[in-house]
């Protein structure tokens, strides 16, 4: 096994699939590459694996150069010694589960291969099926074999391409837990491509958001969600509460930027270098809109309160999605509340009420 190191990647490509990204994935970190389908995520992963070559850029594993366009240097996937799990797992259909794992162990003596393969199949909770062909395994079982095959190599990096898209919901939930558990034990950089933001929020330590080949933002998933750099990121992250407002005061000491939204006073997280009177766009995630605080008298401030009229309610499982019009402005606000709370507060279409916005989740977007 080679030394564990961080993976650095800078890739630029104009032809075919456009790509422009630069990031580091530290050892022991799980990086989620998130973005809509066809945005170049899988291509990026294939470039890291050495299956595709970018037009220009640099890929480094610690001090080792995997790819350098200036030096015209590119290591083959074999030389990079990595673990790669493609979207549909890429199991060898002619080999059994056990043989699939053994096939990836050419680098160790023959006598050690089977015991190691067996150990890894058990580690991914695939007991008693080593002699089955991939066609006779379920989606979740195939995914486990692919994961065992990738990890048994003791790879330098683990690359997962949409690891949960080809399994059913129930299996997916179980695999989330298993991957989260496995992640704790792995000391290598893990890069996971996904179009599902929730997977990134659930599993990743860091995420990069890619759209049409361009890296829009990187950071901790929660930070990207609550502090999107600009409107494009906010929209990619599924944020719908994006509004216009005017800056009326800057309080650097308290780290507050005061906004006027219609007749409402909004205290947002501080945004530097904004002049009074500047028109800005601000955003708040659905979960930043609270219904219960005011009724319970917890919030007596005169700001971050909106008078709303509920326009529609949609129950989705245990939560209710609410769309309401804000009094005084021509905007609609989206919110999500647990079902029990909606029932307790007797929320219904046409109900007029006041909601509170959580200051720490209000965020001003950088101008486009």
């Amino acid at each position: 096994m080679q030394d564990i190191a961080d993976l650095y990647c800078r890739i630029k490509q104009e032809k075919h699939i456009k790509l422009d990204a630069e990031f580091t994935c530290k050892a022991g970190e799980m990086l989620a590459v998130v973005g809509p389908s066809g945005g170049g995520k899988s291509t990026l992963l294939r470039m890291i694996a050495g299956l595709n070559q970018p037009e220009s850029g640099e890929i480094l594993y610690g001090n080792r150069v995997w790819y350098d366009s200036d030096k015209k240097l590119s290591l083959s996937p074999q030389q990079r010694h990595l673990g790669y799990v493609p979207q549909h797992f890429g199991l060898f259909p002619n080999l059994t589960a056990m043989e699939n794992v053994v096939a990836a162990l050419d680098h160790i003596p023959k006598s050690e291969r089977k015991p190691r393969a067996k150990k890894w199949l058990e580690r991914v909770n695939l007991h008693g099926l080593p002699d089955r062909l991939p066609a006779n395994l379920s989606g979740g079982q195939r995914q486990r074999v692919a994961l065992a095959r990738a990890l048994a190599r003791e790879p330098s990096v683990l690359l997962l391409d949409e690891p949960f898209s080809a399994v059913d919901r129930e299996t997916r939930e179980r695999l989330y837990l298993e991957l989260a558990r496995l992640k704790e034990q792995l000391a290598i950089p893990v890069i996971m491509v996904t179009h599902d933001l929730n997977e990134a929020l659930l599993l990743a330590d860091k995420m990069i958001l890619i759209s049409q080949g361009k890296m829009l933002q990187q950071g901790r998933p929660h930070d990207v969600l609550v502090r999107p750099h600009n409107e494009a990121v906010a929209k990619q992250m599924g944020l719908r509460n994006i509004f216009d407002a005017r800056v009326i005061a800057q309080e650097e000491q308290r780290q507050i930027t005061w906004l006027k939204f219609g007749e409402h006073l909004i205290a947002s997280t501080y945004f530097e270098h904004l002049d009074i009177g500047t028109k800005v766009r601000w955003v708040i995630p659905n979960q930043g809109v609270r219904f219960n605080s005011i009724k319970q008298g917890r919030l007596c401030k005169s700001f971050n309160k909106l008078d709303i009229t509920i326009e529609s309610m949609l129950t989705m499982g245990e939560s209710v999605r609410i769309i309401a019009s804000v009094r005084g402005v021509r905007h609609q606000i989206n919110a999500e509340v647990p079902l029990y709370l909606a029932q307790k507060l007797k929320l219904a279409k046409g109900v007029e009420t006041t909601v509170a916005l959580r200051s720490e989740l209000i965020h001003i977007l950088a101008p486009a």
């Binding site: 074999q78 010694h81 673990g83 493609p86 549909h88 060898f92 096939a103 050419d106 066609a135 692919a146």
Partner: protein, 226 residues
């Protein structure tokens, strides 16, 4: 029954497939996995023997490889003998005529191996040669088998090209198909009937065997590629 002609035909078929199939595997793999400028022209060229009358191919081979052409004279010098009207000429002709029968099924089989499987194999550290032998060939097996059977049977029954290129020299270029024609010309219907029946039974048996083998192979590897 012209046993000599039947033996010559079988020998010709065997030599042709032994030379052609390994070449076809490499060429098909290249065509299946690579995109390059002019690929459709190369593929069209490969298919030409399918649509051209065998006598036309035979004519060009006769003219191109005969002692009148520079290529023919060059080959004669290198090989020490003329290709036309000789068994080796028949082999060359059979190979050229059967290229589409060999490449088509094998190329389709290579194309059906999912890219993910090949990518995963490379990322598992397998060398290209190992990927070919351990992963791809076991998966494209039915395609290779089909190509083999098609070429073998096709050479066995080839008439036009063989006649143009090899003439009708007993023990050298007189294949079973030509022998059947000869027998009919000589009103020896009994002999022609026997040889035709042998070819017919051979064709049915081989096709039945290949179909059942392909099916068994397909079942063993599962219908889905994972």
């Amino acid at each position: 029954m012209d046993w000599q002609a039947l033996w010559l035909s079988i020998k010709l078929s065997c030599v042709t497939v032994i030379i052609l199939i390994p070449f076809a595997i490499l060429a098909s793999r290249f065509l299946a996995y690579h995109h390059f400028i002019g690929k459709s022209w190369v593929e069209a060229l490969i298919m030409v023997p399918l649509v051209l009358p065998p006598t036309v191919i035979g004519y060009y081979l006769l003219v191109g490889l005969g002692s009148q052409s520079w290529l023919g004279r060059f080959l004669e010098q290198v090989l020490g003998q003329q290709l036309v009207f000789h068994f080796s000429g028949l082999v060359v002709a059979s190979i050229i005529v059967n290229i589409p029968f060999a490449i088509q099924p094998i190329q389709r089989a290579f194309e059906s191996v999912p890219q993910e499987v090949r990518d995963a194999a490379a990322c598992c550290g397998m060398s290209p040669l190992k990927i070919l032998f351990k992963i791809e060939l076991p998966l494209v097996w039915p395609g290779v088998l089909t190509a083999l059977v098609l070429c073998f049977s096709h050479v066995l029954g080839e008439f036009g090209v063989v006649l143009m290129m090899g003439g009708n020299i007993a023990g050298e270029t007189k294949t079973v198909a030509i022998s059947i024609y000869d027998s009919v010309q000589a009103f020896d219907f009994a002999s022609a009937g026997q040889m035709s029946l042998v070819l017919l039974l051979f064709a049915i048996t081989v096709l039945a065997l290949t179909t059942s083998m392909s099916r068994r192979l397909g079942r063993a590897h599962g219908s889905r590629h994972s």
